[in-house]
């Protein structure tokens, strides 16, 4: 119940060491659990992002670009978009789907890419993982912020072509997929796919960088 960050960290380190040991001593005979592969993806992504953010040689723009590359490698953006549009996906024609994918991706990297400027040496720790029904995995992490309190971020991953990819990000219990689904549902049911594309285009043009405090 009171899982201290330090213990979980040690535990995950131990788990990683055990996994490594298993791989070294009996190659092939002990298949790694699906979970561990998913955890590895999240671990690689978060540590990759932090490495970029702490690199003082990089300008803000370079950082943003590189973070985007690292994140997109680990995200199954097509599945994520499909889940966001849900049954509305069928109302989109193929060209509309392609445009939606690129507009939505731009929108996300533009709005969340701004966080690059606000990085204040937060650390990320993986606090656990669990297998979901249907074969997905959820990897639980915590952003350790010290004073203002920690932030719980869960990643939901799905295997595609043998690769674990992130299909949703759940911040303090709020799923990004569900949140955008609600917003887009309103727009599409009111004005159809074209209305949604139009709003996203507008939003992408308007996007101005956030002033850093």
């Amino acid at each position: 119940m009171t899982s201290m960050p330090s213990t979980t960290k040690t535990r995950s380190k131990l788990a990683a060491a055990a996994l490594l040991l298993a791989c070294m001593t009996a190659p092939g005979s002990v298949p790694a659990r699906a979970d561990d592969a998913a955890v590895a993806v999240v671990e690689r992504t978060t540590s990759g992002v932090i490495a970029i953010l702490t690199d003082q040689k990089l300008s803000t723009d370079e950082k943003r670009k590189r973070v985007e590359d690292v994140v997109l490698q680990s995200v199954d953006f097509e599945t994520l978009s499909k889940l966001v549009l849900a049954r509305n996906w069928t109302r989109f024609s193929d060209p509309q789907r392609t445009e939606f994918l690129s507009l939505f991706r731009n929108h996300l990297s533009m709005t969340y890419g701004r966080n690059v400027e606000g990085y204040k040496n937060e650390k990320v720790t993986i606090t656990g993982s669990r297998a979901e029904t249907g074969g997905d995995s959820t990897v639980k992490t915590k952003i350790l912020r010290g004073g203002p309190g920690d932030v719980m971020i869960d990643y939901r991953l799905r295997q595609r072509d043998g690769q674990w990819k992130i299909i949703d990000v759940i911040i303090e219990g709020v799923s990004l997929v569900s949140n955008f689904r609600s917003q887009f549902q309103d727009v599409v049911s009111g004005g159809g796919p074209e209305k949604l594309l139009e709003l996203l285009r507008e939003k992408n043009v308007k996007g101005e960088p956030l002033k850093s405090r």
Partner: protein
């Protein structure tokens, strides 16, 4: 002076009664919608017209009053001091959190809350420093709205309260109960309590200046963004008992087959 907190209590109670009277005829409609859409709860908003109006009003009040004041506060008060102010008020909320943990059948958590209060009030200098968390005594987020949720009371339709913001009938009903449980106002004159409350609100707003701005720019419809986020967050908080992570969106959210089924129709 002793009557004024009570006056406010009665006003809140009245608001709750009104909210429930409004909610009653709509329960049937809620069940219907639940059956048709997979994630009906998050978007269940039969009072949308009124809600959007109040939401707009709240947003104006925020943009023209609260946010500028919070920006000023943020410019003057160092981050560490802001954290301490926040810790101080969190520590004062101890009776509410503990009582609700007991009401939810979590005596272990309630005991941790007592420990937290004792550690932070003494070693943490009156609650300014959250030493307890460093010691592994986890902070809990509990209120009577969540307790009702644990008892099986559904949230009901989305409801935006003037100045208080996003809510629902269940969580609104929790407000006066938490007010009674919080004990502190009964010991303080209303002047002190109001002043402290304002500082708490301004300081709290100052800590999320960037986050709110980002939420506004990240959303196509800020109203729906907040409505969905509130629903999901409250659900996660109620469920913390069953699942430590508190983050289990419904599984059919992730079901691509459901979409493909629609394809073939």
């Amino acid at each position: 002076m002793r009557t004024s907190p009570l006056d406010r209590l009665w006003a809140s109670l009245l608001a709750v009664v009104i909210a429930f009277l409004l909610a009653a005829p709509l329960t049937a409609a809620a069940d219907e919608q639940e059956a048709t859409t997979s994630d009906a709860g998050a978007d269940y908003d039969p009072w949308q017209r009124m809600n959007r109006g109040i939401f707009w009003f709240n947003d104006r009040a925020d943009v023209y009053v609260l946010e500028p004041v919070a920006k000023g506060w943020d410019a003057i008060v160092p981050q560490r001091a802001e954290n301490s102010v926040s810790n101080f008020f969190t520590n004062l909320r101890f009776p509410v959190v503990m009582a609700n943990n007991l009401l939810q059948g979590k005596p272990g958590d309630a005991a941790i809350d007592v420990g937290r209060f004792m550690v932070n009030s003494t070693i943490g200098i009156g609650g300014l420093f959250d030493v307890a968390t460093l010691w592994g005594l986890q902070r809990h987020n509990e209120d009577f709205g969540q307790t009702l949720g644990v008892w099986g009371v559904p949230p009901g339709p989305y409801l935006v309260l003037p100045l208080l913001g996003p809510s629902n009938p269940r969580d609104t009903a929790g407000i006066p109960v938490d007010y009674v449980l919080s004990v502190t106002p009964l010991f303080l004159s209303s002047y002190w309590w109001t002043g402290a409350g304002i500082i708490n609100i301004v300081n709290g707003r100052a800590q999320v200046l960037d986050e709110v701005q980002q939420a506004k720019s990240a959303s196509l419809d800020y109203y729906v963004f907040v409505r969905n986020a509130y629903y999901q967050r409250r659900k996660a908080l109620v469920n913390d008992q069953k699942d430590e992570s508190g983050t289990t969106p419904t599984d059919d959210l992730y079901d691509l087959n459901a979409i493909d089924d629609q394809n073939s129709k």
